[in-house]
Amino acid sequence: MARVIFDGVSKLYGAGQTPAVNNLSMEIEDREFLVLVGPSGCGKSTAMRMVAGLEEISGGRIIIGDRVVNDLPPKDRDVAMVFQSYALYPHMTVRDNLAYPLKLRKIPKGERETRVREAARLLDIEGFLDRKPKALSGGQRQRVALGRAIVRNADVFLMDEPLSNLDAKLRVQTRAELIKLHDRVQTTTIYVTHDQTEAMTMGDRIAVMSLGVLQQLDTPQNLYDHPANKFVAGFIGSPSMNFVDVHLQAADGKLFANADGFRMRVPDAKGRSLQKYLGETVTLGVRPEHLVERSRININMPPDATIPVKVDVVELLGNEIFVYLTNGNTTLTARMDPDLKLERGQEIEVAAEPDRLHFFDPKSEEVVA
C-alpha cells in the first residue's frame, strides 16, 4: 500500500511538440481509488504508464510511497497493471499466467501455488486454471488479467481501460465487482477510462484531463455540482451540459442574460459575481436534467426567469425523455418526465433553479458564477 504523488510531471515525445502530459501535480492517497478520465489523447494513459515505468518521465517527479521512482525500472516499482487488451501470455495456461510475476520475483513454489489459488478463488476462475487464454471468454480473460495483478500484492494497481473490451451488460456487472474487489484488497488504484459513467461510479476521486493538462481533481459529486471550467462541465454528465453564449445587461437594478431568441433574468445569487461582466458575453451552462418545465418548478420563479422554447424532437427512453428545444438559433437539451406528454412543435417555458446555473468566462472558460 502506498500513496502516489505526481510532482510537476511532464511528458514530451519530441522537442517542439506539445507535451502529452503537461506539469501534472496531484496526490493519490493510500488506498484511494482514483479515476483518470478524459477524451482520447488527453494524456491519461501516458500519465499512468509513467507510473508503471513504461514511459520515461520528461520532467518532474513521481513518488510511490516514499521513493522517487523516476529512474527505477518497472520491475522495481512494485506496481501491478491491468491492460485494456488484457495482455495475457497466450502460450501459458491461466495458472502460469497468474504465477509468472511471482516466479520472476523468485517466490517459492509452495507459496506461489497458494497465492495463485487464493486469487483464483477471489475472482472465481478456479475452474479454468489449466486452460489457455484463447479458450476463455472475454469476461473470463478480464478476470485472469485482474488476477495476475492481485497475486502480486503490489503497492499500486494500475488499470488501463480494463472494461472497454467487454459488452455493455458485462461491463456494468464487472464495474460493481471491481468496486467490491477494491473494498476488499484496499490497494491504491489508478484507473484510466474515457467513460465518464465508469469514472463517476467507481472513483473515490476523479482527475479530469484534457490536452495533457489536469482540469480538475475532486469527488464525483463535486465535479458534477461544481465543475471548475467549461471542459469539465461538458465532459461530466450525459447528455452533456447545454452551453449558450449570453450577453449580460442591467435593467431596473436587475441583471439579464440575452441570447438569440430569449431574455432571462439572472438569479440574484449569481448576479454579484457577474457584475464585472456587465455589457459583455459569458457562457451560460445548464444540465439537461436541471431544465424543468414551468408547471413542475417547485420554487417561486419570477416570470422573467424562464425561457420560452419550442419542442423540436422528443426521444422516448421509457423512464425519461430527452427533449430537444429551440428558440431562435439557441438549442437546448432537456431530460424530462415522460408524463409531461410533450409533442413536437409544442411551445413551453423552461427554467432552472438558480444554483443549477453555471456561468463561464468566454475566453479562459473558467467558471465565474
Binding site: R49, A52, G53, L54, P73, P74, K75, V79, A80, M81, F83, Q84, S85, Y86, A87, L88, Y89, P90, H91, Y100, P101, L104, R105, P133, K134, R148, R152, L158
Partner: protein, 283 residues
C-alpha cells in the same frame, strides 16, 4: 435436402475444373523431374542409356548401397548435419536477438541498419569469395566446420533478421509491457515471451536456413578441402570420373540427399506455411 447438397457440390466441382487442370499441370512440372530421378535410381547403368525417362524394367536396389559407399554418406551426412545444426542454432540465436532489438527496442539508426542489411545481403557471394578465402586461411579457419559455419551464419542472418523482425513487429507491445511490469528483464522478455510467441517465425527461418545450408555447394567446396570434411553435396564429385558419370548412382545419391529434407518438410509443413503467411498471433 441431400440431393440439393449433392447438386450444389456437383456444381461447385464443375466450376472448379479449370483450376484442377492448371494445378495438375503444375504438379506434373514439379513432381516430374523428381519422379524421373527416382525411376533412374533403380535402373542399371546400361538401362539409363536406352531408357532415360521411362519406368525401370528391373529394380536395382543395390544402386543405393553402392551410392552410399561411393558418396561416403556415412561421413558426409554427419558433416552436413553438423553444418546445418551449427548454422541454424547460430542464426536463430543471433538473428533472433538482433530482430528483437530492431523490432522492439527503439534503437537509434535501426532503419539505416536494416537498409545496410538489405543492400549487403543482395550482393553475390562470388564478389568476396577470394578475399574471404585468404582471410580464412590467415585465421586458420580453412577446413574447419566452425569456420564455414561462421560464414553460413553471416550469409543467412540478414534474411533471418528480416523475417523475424517483421514477425516480432506485429506482436502487440502490451505483452512486453505486461512482462516488464510483472518483473521481467529484457532477456526474460525475449526468451520467455517474444520467442515463444514468434516461434512459427523461428521455425520458418530454421527450415529455410537448414535447406540452404544442406544444399550449399560453392562455399563447402572452397572452404572444406579435406575429404573427411566433405558434405553430402560436395561428395557428388565422387560420382564423376574424368570423362563420364554414373547416372544411376548419381540418381540414387540424389534421392538419399533429398529424403531428409522431404521428411522434415512433411513434419513441419503446416507450421511452415503458417509462418510464411501469418504474421502475428492474437491473444
Amino acid at each position: 435436402m441431400g440431393d440439393l447438397n449433392r447438386l450444389v457440390r456437383g456444381g461447385r466441382g464443375m466450376s472448379l475444373a479449370p483450376n484442377y487442370v492448371i494445378l495438375i499441370l503444375l504438379l506434373i512440372f514439379s513432381i516430374g523431374p523428381l519422379a524421373i530421378m527416382a525411376f533412374n535410381s533403380l535402373k542399371s547403368r546400361t538401362e539409363i542409356g536406352d531408357n532415360p525417362l521411362g519406368l525401370p524394367r528391373g529394380l536395382v536396389w543395390s544402386n543405393y548401397s553402392r551410392a552410399w559407399d561411393v558418396g561416403n554418406f556415412s561421413t558426409t551426412m554427419v558433416n552436413s548435419g553438423l553444418l546445418v545444426a551449427g548454422t541454424v542454432i547460430g542464426v536463430l540465436l543471433l538473428g533472433g536477438m538482433a530482430a528483437y532489438s530492431l523490432a522492439k527496442l527503439d534503437l537509434p539508426g535501426a532503419g539505416a541498419l536494416m537498409l545496410f542489411l538489405l543492400v549487403v545481403s543482395s550482393l553475390p557471394i562470388h564478389l568476396f569469395l577470394v578475399p574471404l578465402f585468404v582471410l580464412w586461411r590467415e585465421l586458420g579457419l580453412l577446413n574447419s566446420f566452425h569456420g564455414l559455419i561462421l560464414i553460413y551464419i553471416a550469409l543467412n542472418a540478414p534474411l533471418a533478421i528480416f523475417l523475424l523482425r517483421s514477425y516480432m513487429v506485429q506482436l502487440p507491445r502490451d505483452f512486453e509491457d505486461a512482462a516488464r511490469v510483472d518483473g521481467a528483464g529484457e532477456w526474460q522478455i525475449f526468451a520467455k515471451i517474444v520467442v515463444p510467441l514468434s516461434w512459427p517465425g523461428f521455425l520458418t527461418v530454421g527450415l529455410v536456413v537448414a535447406l540452404s545450408v544442406w544444399n550449399e555447394f560453392l562455399l563447402a567446396t572452397v572452404f572444406l578441402q579435406d575429404e573427411s570434411k566433405f558434405t553430402v553435396v560436395t561428395s557428388y564429385q565422387n560420382f564423376a570420373t574424368r570423362f563420364s558419370r554414373d547416372w544411376s548412382l548419381t540418381s540414387a545419391a540424389s534421392v538419399m540427399m533429398i529424403v531428409p529434407i522431404i521428411v522434415i518438410f512433411l513434419i513441419f509443413q503446416r507450421r511452415f506455411i503458417e509462418g510464411m503467411t501469418q504474421g502475428g498471433m492474437k491473444g
